[in-house]
C-alpha cells in the first residue's frame, strides 16, 4: 500500500482496518544471492540499495531480535557531514544527498529535518580549527558557515554566551543544511521499501555460525523459533555494529581493530520548541537537539570501558548534564526523562570500515563508533556497491581494514589507536 495523505484519509474513514503489515514476515528460503547479517539501519539500507540500484533482490536480511533493535533506534538522530578529512567529508556528503531525498525514495517519511548543526568554539584556536574544517567542507562542496558569537547567540537564545562562562563562546561552525531525522522511521522505511522490492527480512533469527565451502563463506547457520537452520548464499555481508566482534568470531575472525563500548543517550521531558539547531559544546563533549515531540535529545562521551551492556553508569550522567546546563543554564530545571545505552563498534581511528573480506565470500561493514546513524544511507549505498561489484566504490575505498596496519588511519581527532578516545 502506498503511503500518502490520501491513503490516510481513506483508511481513517474505514476505521483503519485495511492497513497491512509494513513488511512481510516471510519464511526463510534455503538460498539467497546475498545474505546480510544485521537488521539495523545499515543492513536494511544495504538491502534496499542492492535491490534498487543493483537489481539484486534475492536478498535476506537476518536480524537476531526485532528489526532496528540496535543503534538505529538508540541514537541521538544527528545527520551531518561536517568532517575534516577528505574520505569522511566525501562519504558523509553522499549520505546527505541520499538523506535529502530519502522520504521519497522510500515512500516513508523519515522526517529529515535540515535545521542546522552548530559546533561551538571556545578559544581563538578552536575558531581556527573550525575554520579549517569549514573550509575543507566548502572546498568539497559542502555548506558551512563560521559564525561569530553574536550570530551564535541569535541562533540559540538560551545559550550562555557571556564572558563569565567557564569556557566563553567565541563562535561556531554551522552546517546549515544538516540536522536530524526520525531514527526508527529510517529502519522501518528501509525495511518496508526493501521488502517491497522482494528482500526477505527475517526477524528473530539469530546467526549462530557461518557455512564454509573450503575457505569461502557460503552462508549462515541460524536459530529460528528454537530450530537450527542453514541458509546459503554466494555472498554474506556483515553489518552488526557493536556486535561485530561477536559475529566475526563465528566466522573465525578472532581479532579486529575494533572494541565495543557503551554510549548513553538522554532525553528530557517534552517542552515547546526551545532550541532550533543541533548544537555541540566545544569545551567538552556534548550534543543536543530537540525532537519534534519536544524532548531535548542529547549525549556526550562513551563510557570508555569495553561493554556490551546497553546501559551505562552514573559518571557520564553527571558529565553530560553538567555540560548541557553549562551551555544552557536555563535547562537546570528541565528534567531528564530517560536514558539508555547502545553498544558502539569503536574503531582504532574513529572512522568506519566498508570492505570486501576479510574472508572470501564475505563483506564487512563496521567501525561506526558513535556516528553510524548519519551514515546509514551512504553506508548501505557504498556497501551495496562493494557487494555487487566485489570492489569498493570510490567513496569507500579508503575505509579498508588494512589501513591501520598500513599506517594510513583516517583519524579526525588525531587521537591515535585508542578506540575509546575517538
Amino acid at each position: 500500500m502506498r503511503y500518502s495523505a490520501f491513503a490516510i484519509l481513506k483508511n481513517a474513514l474505514r476505521g483503519n482496518r485495511d492497513w497491512t503489515p509494513a513488511w512481510r514476515k516471510p519464511e526463510p528460503r534455503n538460498n539467497y544471492d546475498v545474505i546480510i547479517v544485521g537488521g539495523g539501519g545499515h543492513g536494511l539500507s544495504t538491502a534496499f540499495y542492492l535491490a534498487s540500484v543493483h537489481g539484486i533482490t534475492n536478498v535476506a536480511v537476518i536480524e537476531k531480535g526485532y528489526l532496528g533493535s540496535g543503534n538505529v533506534g538508540r541514537n541521538t538522530t544527528i545527520v551531518r557531514s561536517n568532517y575534516r578529512l577528505t574520505p569522511n567529508t566525501g562519504f558523509y556528503e553522499k549520505s546527505m544527498d541520499l538523506w535529502r531525498e530519502l522520504s521519497h525514495s522510500l515512500n516513508y517519511n523519515v522526517m529529515f529535518s535540515p535545521r542546522g548543526v552548530l559546533n561551538l568554539a571556545h578559544t581563538p584556536g578552536q575558531m581556527d580549527t573550525h575554520a579549517e574544517r569549514g573550509n575543507q567542507m566548502r572546498l568539497m562542496g559542502v555548506q558551512s558557515e563560521l559564525l561569530d558569537r553574536d550570530q551564535v547567540a541569535r541562533l540559540n537564545p538560551g545559550l550562555d554566551v557571556s564572558g563569565s562562562a567557564r569556557f566563553p563562546v567565541h563562535g561556531g561552525l554551522l552546517q546549515p543544511d544538516a540536522g536530524n531525522a526520525r531514527h526508527d522511521a529510517v529502519a522501518w522505511g528501509y525495511a518496508r521499501a526493501a521488502d517491497q522490492l522482494g528482500v526477505d527480512i527475517l526477524e528473530n533469527t539469530e546467526v549462530v555460525g557461518f557455512l564454509k565451502d573450503g575457505d569461502r563463506i557460503a552462508g549462515v547457520e541460524v536459530m529460528r523459533n528454537g530450530e537450527p537452520m542453514e541458509i546459503r548464499a554466494a555472498k554474506t555481508a556483515v553489518a552488526v555494529a557493536g556486535n561485530t566482534g561477536r559475529v566475526m568470531k563465528m566466522a573465525g575472525v578472532d581479532k579486529l581493530p575494533i572494541e565495543t563500548t557503551v554510549l548513553q543517550a538522554f532525553v528530557s521531558e517534552s517542552i515547546k520548541p526551545i532550541i532550533p539547531t543541533v548544537t555541540t559544546f566545544g569545551a567538552g563533549h556534548l550534543y543536543v537537539s530537540q525532537s519534534d515531540k519536544g524532548g531535548l535529545v542529547f549525549g556526550g562521551n562513551i563510557d570508555y570501558y569495553n561493554s556490551y551492556a546497553q546501559r551505562g553508569n552514573l559518571p557520564v550522567w553527571e558529565e553530560v548534564t553538567a555540560e548541557l546546563i553549562a551551555m544552557f543554564p536555563a535547562f537546570a530545571r528541565l528534567r531528564l526523562l530517560r536514558s539508555w545505552g547502545g553498544v558502539m563498534d569503536m574503531s582504532m581511528d574513529g572512522s568506519p570500515i566498508i570492505t570486501t573480506g576479510p574472508l572470501p565470500g564475505m563483506y564487512l561493514n563496521a567501525g561506526w563508533c558513535y556516528g553510524g546513524f548519519k551514515a546509514t544511507p551512504a553506508s548501505g549505498w557504498c556497501f551495496a556497491h562493494t557487494i555487487a561489484n566485489d570492489k569498493a566504490h570510490r567513496l569507500n575505498e579508503a575505509f579498508t581494514l588494512e589501513r591501520f596496519k598500513d599506517g594510513n588511519p583516517i583519524d579526525e581527532l588525531g587521537a591515535g589507536p585508542t578506540p575509546w578516545y575517538h
Binding site: 581479532k255 579486529l256 570501558y305 556490551y308 591501520f404 589507536p417 585508542t418
Partner: protein, 90 residues
C-alpha cells in the same frame, strides 16, 4: 562500577583511567617486527564476556591493576595489581 584497588580499597571507577585490553602486550624492545607491533596495537579480541583490562588508579595511588570484568554484566571478577610492586600488593 566499583573497582578494588589493591592499595586503596574499593573505589568508584571514576578514580581510575581505563587503559584497555590487558592481553595486548608490547613486543620486547629488540623485537622490530612490524607485524608484531601492528598486532599489539590494532588486534583486539573484544570479547563479549570476561575481559582482562588494565586500569590505572590515577586519582589514588596510581597503581595499575588488571581487572577481570564481564563486558555484558559489568560484574568485576577480580582486580590484580601489576607493575614493580605487584608481588608486594598481592
Amino acid at each position: 562500577m566499583r573497582l578494588t584497588c589493591p592499595y586503596c580499597g574499593p573505589r568508584d571507577h571514576q578514580e581510575f583511567t581505563y587503559r584497555g585490553d590487558a592481553s595486548a602486550v608490547r613486543p620486547v624492545l629488540d623485537n622490530t617486527s612490524i607485524d608484531d607491533h601492528n598486532a599489539y596495537i590494532y588486534d583486539r579480541t573484544n570479547p563479549d564476556g570476561l575481559h582482562r583490562e588494565l586500569w590505572n588508579h590515577t586519582s589514588g595511588c596510581r597503581t595499575h591493576i588488571i581487572v577481570e570484568r564481564n563486558t555484558i554484566t559489568h560484574d568485576v571478577v577480580s582486580c590484580e595489581p601489576v607493575g614493580p610492586f605487584a608481588e608486594q600488593l598481592k
